[in-house]
Symmetry: C2
Subunit: 456 residues, 2 copies
């Protein structure tokens, strides 16, 4: 039956790519209020699609923010139930001038589809929908029951989903959760992510005088908010790139030699990576490898900084405000609440006189790790290997999907993170894209996985 | 005759204010290339005005940048010749939303005229033009000959004027230069500026990867250009706000006790100033007073900083570039060339691995001081005191008019800096304005000055 289902996918590939482009055209940027309606259109597209592929139930469900789309197709009360989690919202697109094609006009070049959301996460959500469609269409006795939960706030930290999942825990109940919102470690290498970093962040606003001042009249006499901000931000790390926020590392267990050995086997060609990124060197926290720094170590990154004159040439102004946006990637057992408290305390302790400094926390997510010897994870690896003909890598992801730790806690079933992106697909950056090779092979993998799960 | 000339000014006040508004309507922002044509219109307005007021010669003269307007009215070969220097270009207007009225739609409220350029420097240039018009119109034997040199690049550091003045030194030859591009120390207090700070600056560009990166995938592994920039910028000063650039203070003579005493007599109500500016404290270089820090001490100010995400909310990006714009106010005998070299050296010495850092110098200006016991300066004080009925303050200005030191060098005659603005008129900031009280009293002062200069 797998063959027949896979053939259906092949036969319908052209239609699928057109539908995917329709989905990618919707600028469902959850972080920007001017895209509120567009974000809703993203939800409506998913709801309609669930009806189209034959789901018995599909609905948009309100939250305090952007809505959730829920759907289910129950074929057989005795079959295992799979809950697919994903998100229909996307990141902002600036700087737009660095895109080679419009971010919301999907374009296929060299067997890659370019658009905001292509790999993160609309493209991968879409693959699941098409696999479900194929199974429902071709198989009178599908091997599993399907539930889907597609949210619209992943890119802003899923502020409303934990409450939603708590309130609808019975409805969401399943035997496992599948999340495809991550990447293969490299082209052709099946990858299961058994851990994710958490997220915590703050915005720092420094206010000086009630308007910009002339740097000749007032320069030297009044504290410059940019200087104050720079002093605060630079105090976050020492020369070894160790984070100087009190108790930042307190709750992180020492990395075991076994885990360090396992991570050392993850092959990253650092010279190649340097060339690909165009940077003169890779650097970070002293004493840890690149792989460790980007997966099992916490980070503190300034995502944006701004204040004063940004135009061409000179403007000899002493600006009246400056802002920095900072997020930390967290690892077990760092607690996001605690980290935000410590960040806030740190900022205030470093704030110089002469300016007013305020701190606004962003939404938070807990870090997550799970044992990877669970049968449903092993079956995922088997499905991958059938298609990719290559061993599975088990990694801890550097990114954050805050809701994963929450779903783990609320539903108390294994969460299988099997992604089909690639690490250089520019997610969150200009020219985001998705390789169609993994679009095809990924769907085949998912078909095999569904039938492996159905074998009781 | 002074009375008759002053009466003419009074009789024509309404027409004058209308003409001034026409001048202020021209968005002659020299630093922005999209305003190149507007800047030229500023020059054309001055040229036409010189013809209108009866100058024998008035012309626009090309430079490698925005043009210069030159004009002359020679009444009597034996009378002293006054060269008035000023500028028709203005600062940018951002942030525009903080203006209460449009920056290029001049508005009179509470006997103040609001517009970009109202006080810096179109308003003050205009006063000279109207005084010349009144003298030429009313007096068959004017007491002095007039030359004017009005440039269009003061706000970008007068990059082309030194060469122009060098090449036209004979044409510009005069007995003194008058510059009205500064302020009274306080309302009702005649003020002669006998020194000015110089200017030097650089732009620092930090480049990381060839595009923005996902902070989850790459965070911790790759150097964040914002971190690198913040590290560099924070290294410029220590906790006492002493500039840490090597040899920065090397050429500054120790301030004499006499000069410190004189500066201590300049009254600044720091509590009032704090309230007016809305800052919790005034602070700067340790061991120096507010007045010292803003006039006789050099500064290093970040005028603008930017990199990464600036929108609403979070974008968990590791940005690929960050920029800071920095200018220093210099005091005698700091050399701008030397300071730019030292700044550049400092930046490169502090640049961390993993990023490419480049430095672009801005245009420079030398600091300036002159003895204030020269007769033409004493006559200026006498003219001021006749109208304002108050003693003259002699101060060193915190701002920079780089061309002053150049005119001093090239023409080798006294440069009299007598301004009519006020310190809180928001020059270089939103809601720039000019008090009409000083517009009227300033023109009267200038009339008296011309006749005092004519007494041989």
């Amino acid at each position: 039956m797998q063959k027949q289902v896979i053939q259906f996918l092949k036969d319908n590939r052209e239609r699928h790519l057109e539908e995917l482009q329709d989905f990618l055209k919707i600028p469902s940027i959850s972080s920007l209020s001017e895209h509120k309606e567009d974000t809703l259109r993203g939800a409506q597209w998913v709801e309609q699609e669930l009806h189209n592929i034959g789901f018995q139930e599909a609905k948009i469900m309100e939250t305090d923010g952007h809505p959730v789309v829920y759907g289910e197709y129950i074929a057989d009360g005795n079959a295992p139930t799979v809950l697919v989690y994903g998100h229909y919202d996307v990141q902002p697109v600036d700087p737009v001038h660095l895109w080679d094609s419009e971010p919301f006009e999907p374009t296929i070049r060299d067997e890659k589809i370019y658009a905001r959301g292509a790999t993160d996460d609309k493209g991968q959500v879409f693959m699941h929908l098409k696999v479900m469609e194929a199974v429902i269409n071709q198989d009178d006795t599908p091997p599993v029951n399907f539930k889907v939960l597609i949210e619209g706030e992943e890119e802003i930290g899923s502020p409303n989903l934990p409450k939603f999942a708590d309130e609808h825990a019975n409805q969401l109940n399943a035997d496992l959760v599948i999340v495809s919102d991550s990447a293969l470690v490299e082209k052709g290498k099946p990858t299961i992510t058994y851990g994710l970093r958490g997220l915590a962040g703050i915005q720092i606003d420094v206010e000086g005088a009630n308007s910009d001042l002339h740097s000749g009249e007032y320069g030297g006499g009044v504290v410059n908010p940019i200087h104050a901000l720079v002093k605060i931000v630079d105090s976050f790390r020492d020369d070894n790139n160790f984070i100087q926020v009190e108790d930042f590392y307190r709750d992180i267990p020492e990395l075991s030699q076994d885990e360090r050995d396992a991570l050392a086997r993850v092959s990253v060609n650092e010279d190649q990576l340097k060339d690909d990124l165009g940077v003169p060197a890779l650097d970070g926290e002293a004493g840890y490898s690149y792989v460790e720094r980007t997966s099992v170590r916490p980070t503190l990154e300034v995502n944006g900084i701004y204040g004063g004159f940004q135009g061409e040439g000179i403007k000899t102004v002493l600006p009246n405000q400056a802002t920095a946006k900072i997020t930390c990637r967290l690892v077990p057992d760092q607690d996001p609440e605690h980290i935000v408290q410590q960040l806030t305390k740190h900022v205030h302790s470093k704030a110089p006189v002469g300016v007013n400094v305020s701190v606004t926390p962003f939404d938070k997510g807990k870090p997550y790790v799970t044992p990877f010897d669970h049968p449903v994870i092993q079956k995922a690896a088997q499905a991958y290997e059938t298609v990719y003909q290559n061993d599975t890598a088990y990694v801890r992801g550097g990114g954050s999907i805050p809701i994963v730790a929450e779903l783990d806690r609320i539903l108390n079933v294994p969460v299988v993170l099997m992604g089909f992106g690639l690490p250089d697909e520019n997610l969150h950056a200009p020219n985001e894209h998705f390789h169609l090779e993994n679009f095809d092979q990924g769907m085949e993998t998912l078909v095999h996985y569904m039938y492996l799960l159905g074998e009781q």
